[in-house]
Protein backbone atom coordinates (compact mmCIF):
# COMPACT_ATOMS: atom_id res chain seq x y z
CA UNK A 1 0.00 0.00 0.00
CA UNK A 2 2.92 2.30 -0.60
CA UNK A 3 2.54 5.64 -2.29
CA UNK A 4 5.37 7.62 -3.93
CA UNK A 5 6.33 10.92 -2.32
CA UNK A 6 5.90 12.74 -5.63
CA UNK A 7 2.24 11.67 -5.78
CA UNK A 8 1.59 13.06 -2.29
CA UNK A 9 3.28 16.31 -3.25
CA UNK A 10 1.30 16.59 -6.50
CA UNK A 11 -2.03 16.01 -4.76
CA UNK A 12 -1.29 18.68 -2.15
CA UNK A 13 -0.10 21.17 -4.81
CA UNK A 14 -3.22 20.53 -6.90
CA UNK A 15 -5.41 21.69 -4.00
CA UNK A 16 -3.05 24.34 -2.60
CA UNK A 17 -1.16 25.73 -5.62
CA UNK A 18 0.98 28.14 -3.59
CA UNK A 19 2.08 25.46 -1.14
CA UNK A 20 5.67 24.75 -0.31
CA UNK A 21 5.66 20.99 0.31
CA UNK A 22 8.52 19.07 1.86
CA UNK A 23 8.15 15.31 2.06
CA UNK A 24 10.48 13.08 4.03
CA UNK A 25 10.37 9.31 3.65
CA UNK A 26 10.87 8.41 7.31
CA UNK A 27 11.50 4.69 7.00
CA UNK A 28 12.73 4.49 3.41
CA UNK A 29 9.88 2.11 2.60
CA UNK A 30 7.60 4.48 0.68
CA UNK A 31 4.95 4.07 3.35
CA UNK A 32 5.92 6.25 6.31
CA UNK A 33 6.20 9.92 5.47
CA UNK A 34 6.48 13.28 7.12
CA UNK A 35 5.09 16.25 5.23
CA UNK A 36 5.62 19.90 6.02
CA UNK A 37 3.22 22.14 4.12
CA UNK A 38 3.52 25.92 4.04
CA UNK A 39 0.67 27.84 2.41
CA UNK A 40 -0.91 31.27 2.64
CA UNK A 41 -4.27 29.49 2.45
CA UNK A 42 -3.77 28.42 6.10
CA UNK A 43 -3.73 32.01 7.36
CA UNK A 44 -6.14 32.62 10.21
CA UNK A 45 -7.29 28.99 10.34
CA UNK A 46 -6.96 26.75 13.39
CA UNK A 47 -4.58 23.79 13.13
CA UNK A 48 -7.36 21.24 12.82
CA UNK A 49 -8.74 23.15 9.81
CA UNK A 50 -5.26 23.42 8.25
CA UNK A 51 -4.67 19.69 8.57
CA UNK A 52 -8.14 18.93 7.22
CA UNK A 53 -7.33 20.99 4.11
CA UNK A 54 -4.30 18.79 3.47
CA UNK A 55 -6.26 15.60 4.19
CA UNK A 56 -8.93 16.77 1.76
CA UNK A 57 -6.25 17.39 -0.86
CA UNK A 58 -5.21 13.76 -0.40
CA UNK A 59 -8.78 12.78 -1.25
CA UNK A 60 -9.55 10.15 1.35
CA UNK A 61 -6.22 8.32 1.04
CA UNK A 62 -5.29 9.36 4.55
CA UNK A 63 -5.98 6.55 6.98
CA UNK A 64 -6.30 4.12 4.09
CA UNK A 65 -3.77 3.89 1.29
CA UNK A 66 -1.59 6.31 3.20
CA UNK A 67 -1.15 4.99 6.72
CA UNK A 68 1.61 7.06 8.16
CA UNK A 69 1.89 10.72 7.31
CA UNK A 70 3.25 12.96 10.02
CA UNK A 71 1.89 16.35 9.12
CA UNK A 72 2.94 19.83 10.11
CA UNK A 73 1.48 22.98 8.59
CA UNK A 74 2.52 26.62 8.62
CA UNK A 75 1.76 29.98 7.10
CA UNK A 76 4.61 31.65 5.13
CA UNK A 77 6.54 34.30 7.05
Amino acid sequence: MAMPASEIENLIRAALPDADVQITDLAGDGDHYAAHVVSAAFAGKPRVAQHKMVYEALGGRMGGELHALQLTTAVPN
Binding site: R47, V48, H51, K52, Y55, M62, G63, G64, A68, Q70
Partner: protein, 109 residues
Protein backbone atom coordinates in the same frame (compact mmCIF):
# COMPACT_ATOMS: atom_id res chain seq x y z
CA UNK B 1 -24.62 5.24 12.69
CA UNK B 2 -26.56 7.56 14.98
CA UNK B 3 -26.20 4.97 17.74
CA UNK B 4 -22.45 5.04 17.52
CA UNK B 5 -22.49 8.84 17.45
CA UNK B 6 -24.49 8.79 20.66
CA UNK B 7 -22.05 6.33 22.23
CA UNK B 8 -19.06 8.50 21.27
CA UNK B 9 -20.84 11.63 22.46
CA UNK B 10 -21.40 10.01 25.84
CA UNK B 11 -17.74 8.96 26.13
CA UNK B 12 -16.32 12.38 25.23
CA UNK B 13 -18.74 14.23 27.47
CA UNK B 14 -18.25 11.92 30.46
CA UNK B 15 -14.45 12.16 30.45
CA UNK B 16 -12.59 15.48 30.65
CA UNK B 17 -9.71 14.14 28.56
CA UNK B 18 -10.13 11.09 26.38
CA UNK B 19 -7.86 9.62 23.73
CA UNK B 20 -9.22 7.26 21.09
CA UNK B 21 -6.21 5.13 20.20
CA UNK B 22 -4.96 1.82 18.85
CA UNK B 23 -4.05 -0.34 21.83
CA UNK B 24 -3.86 0.72 25.45
CA UNK B 25 -1.83 3.35 27.31
CA UNK B 26 0.45 0.55 28.51
CA UNK B 27 0.67 -1.21 25.14
CA UNK B 28 0.00 1.21 22.26
CA UNK B 29 -0.28 -0.67 18.95
CA UNK B 30 0.81 2.18 16.67
CA UNK B 31 3.57 4.77 16.75
CA UNK B 32 1.14 7.69 16.52
CA UNK B 33 -0.92 6.43 19.45
CA UNK B 34 2.28 5.84 21.39
CA UNK B 35 3.36 9.43 20.76
CA UNK B 36 -0.03 10.76 21.90
CA UNK B 37 0.25 8.80 25.16
CA UNK B 38 3.79 10.08 25.72
CA UNK B 39 2.52 13.67 25.42
CA UNK B 40 -0.32 13.10 27.89
CA UNK B 41 2.12 11.43 30.31
CA UNK B 42 4.48 14.41 30.03
CA UNK B 43 1.63 16.76 30.82
CA UNK B 44 0.81 14.67 33.90
CA UNK B 45 -2.93 15.02 33.44
CA UNK B 46 -5.60 12.41 34.14
CA UNK B 47 -7.01 10.88 30.97
CA UNK B 48 -9.09 8.01 29.70
CA UNK B 49 -8.34 5.94 26.62
CA UNK B 50 -10.57 4.00 24.25
CA UNK B 51 -8.95 1.16 22.31
CA UNK B 52 -10.57 1.33 18.88
CA UNK B 53 -9.05 -2.04 17.95
CA UNK B 54 -11.49 -3.61 20.45
CA UNK B 55 -14.53 -1.91 18.92
CA UNK B 56 -14.98 -1.80 15.15
CA UNK B 57 -18.07 0.39 15.42
CA UNK B 58 -16.17 3.10 17.27
CA UNK B 59 -13.11 2.64 15.07
CA UNK B 60 -15.16 3.68 12.03
CA UNK B 61 -17.61 5.95 13.83
CA UNK B 62 -15.01 8.17 15.42
CA UNK B 63 -13.75 9.21 11.98
CA UNK B 64 -17.11 10.60 10.93
CA UNK B 65 -17.86 11.95 14.41
CA UNK B 66 -14.94 14.38 14.12
CA UNK B 67 -14.64 14.37 10.31
CA UNK B 68 -11.02 13.35 10.90
CA UNK B 69 -9.54 10.41 8.98
CA UNK B 70 -7.00 9.02 11.42
CA UNK B 71 -6.50 7.66 14.91
CA UNK B 72 -5.42 8.68 17.58
CA UNK B 73 -7.90 11.46 18.33
CA UNK B 74 -7.84 13.63 21.44
CA UNK B 75 -10.95 15.17 23.02
CA UNK B 76 -10.92 17.68 25.86
CA UNK B 77 -14.24 18.53 27.53
CA UNK B 78 -16.13 17.00 24.65
CA UNK B 79 -14.29 18.99 21.97
CA UNK B 80 -12.11 17.38 19.31
CA UNK B 81 -8.58 18.78 19.65
CA UNK B 82 -6.64 16.90 16.98
CA UNK B 83 -4.47 13.90 16.17
CA UNK B 84 -0.94 13.19 17.35
CA UNK B 85 0.72 15.74 15.03
CA UNK B 86 -1.46 18.56 16.31
CA UNK B 87 -0.98 17.34 19.87
CA UNK B 88 2.79 17.51 19.36
CA UNK B 89 2.68 20.99 17.80
CA UNK B 90 0.42 22.25 20.59
CA UNK B 91 2.52 20.56 23.26
CA UNK B 92 5.73 22.14 21.97
CA UNK B 93 4.07 25.56 21.83
CA UNK B 94 2.70 25.16 25.38
CA UNK B 95 -0.82 25.39 23.96
CA UNK B 96 -1.96 21.94 25.01
CA UNK B 97 -1.11 22.60 28.64
CA UNK B 98 -2.85 25.95 28.33
CA UNK B 99 -5.99 24.40 26.84
CA UNK B 100 -6.18 21.81 29.61
CA UNK B 101 -5.58 24.40 32.33
CA UNK B 102 -8.16 26.72 30.79
CA UNK B 103 -10.62 23.83 30.80
CA UNK B 104 -10.26 23.67 34.57
CA UNK B 105 -8.53 20.28 34.63
CA UNK B 106 -5.79 19.99 37.24
CA UNK B 107 -2.59 18.01 36.77
CA UNK B 108 -2.21 14.90 38.89
CA UNK B 109 -0.06 15.45 41.96
Amino acid sequence: MSDVNARIGEIVNKNDIVLFMKGTALFPQCGFSSRAIAILEHLGVPYETVDVLQDMEIRQGIKSYSDWPTIPQLYVKGEFVGGSDIMMEMYEAGELHQLITDSGIAAQS
